[in-house]
Amino acid sequence: MRILALAALLTVAGGGPYSARAEGASYEGPSVAPAPGRSGGGGKIKWRTHKGYDGALTEARESGKPLMLYFTADF
């Protein structure tokens, strides 16, 4: 299942590893949709890791910004 998911991601995302720079923590990994690294131009999407989840909820509430949670496999 995990292998299939990975294969599907790489196929759609065009293959090859991507990296995502997280805010407050680091994440390096292969592509994940919406594909950190396959951003449609203008640089890479920056992500927090799960460790920043609680802080993200607080920041969303205070800043008025919605949240986007991206659930993926740890490759």
Binding site: R2, A5, A8, L9, V12, A13, A20, A22, Y27, G29, V32, A33, P34, A35, P36, R38, S39, G40, G41, G42, G43, K44, I45, K46, W47, R48, T49, H50, K51, G52, Y53, A56, L57, E59, A60, R61, E62, S63, G64, K65, P66, L67, M68, L69, Y70, F71, T72, A73, D74
Partner: protein, 185 residues
């Protein structure tokens, strides 16, 4: 698309370390993207991969539908400009790292205060040695909320009210409501 994504708070949750978050949101398939409103309520989701050209309009749509004005501003000038533009009082929440400030912030998070965040523009100001706003408003002992009139020439010179710490949410609410009544734009 990167710019569109910046209007949302973004969290990458992997299945090694982030299991609790998977469980909390009942996510069983990967990849899954969940969109939550600023209060943490799920508003949309999709499973699978979307190319950037499809994802970008979705990000914009979620931001437009569910984004709202900040509950707390981080920048004083930005908050002052908004308070002036909307003819609302400006409340500066001066805090530091001590427990009293943590307790005060917790009291401010009480649901009974929710509607006051619509009527007053709040800004958080961390009190440090070089904090210009703390000096300007003469604050040396946080936590305190200083309610000011943003339309006056020097909002700091004649605050509407100062609401000091160690108060329950209901007392803070009462004091802020009094400040609202005294506010004349």
């Amino acid at each position: 698309m990167v710019k569109a994504s910046e209007s949302l708070i973004r969290v990458l949750v992997d299945n090694k370390g982030g299991e609790e978050i998977f469980d909390k949101h009942k996510v069983e398939r990967m990849p899954t993207i969940l969109f939550l409103d600023p209060d943490g309520k799920k508003v949309d989701e999709f499973v699978g991969v979307k190319p950037p050209e499809e994802l970008e309009p979705l990000l914009k749509s979620v931001t437009e539908k569910f984004g709202r004005k900040p509950r707390f501003h981080k920048e004083y000038d930005q908050a002052l400009d908004r308070a002036k533009a909307e003819s609302k009082p400006l409340a500066l929440f001066f805090f530091d790292a001590k427990q009293a400030s943590v307790d005060y912030a917790k009291a401010l998070d009480d649901k009974s205060l929710e509607e006051l965040f619509e009527k007053i523009v709040f800004v958080k100001v961390e009190v440090k040695k070089d904090s210009a706003e703390a000096k300007r408003y003469g604050v040396t002992a946080p936590p305190v909320i200083v309610v000011a009139n943003p339309t006056s020439e020097k909002p700091e010179s004649n605050p509407i009210r100062k609401v000091y710490g160690k108060k329950a949410a209901k007392d803070i609410k009462r004091d802020l409501e009094e400040a609202l009544k005294r506010f004349k734009p």
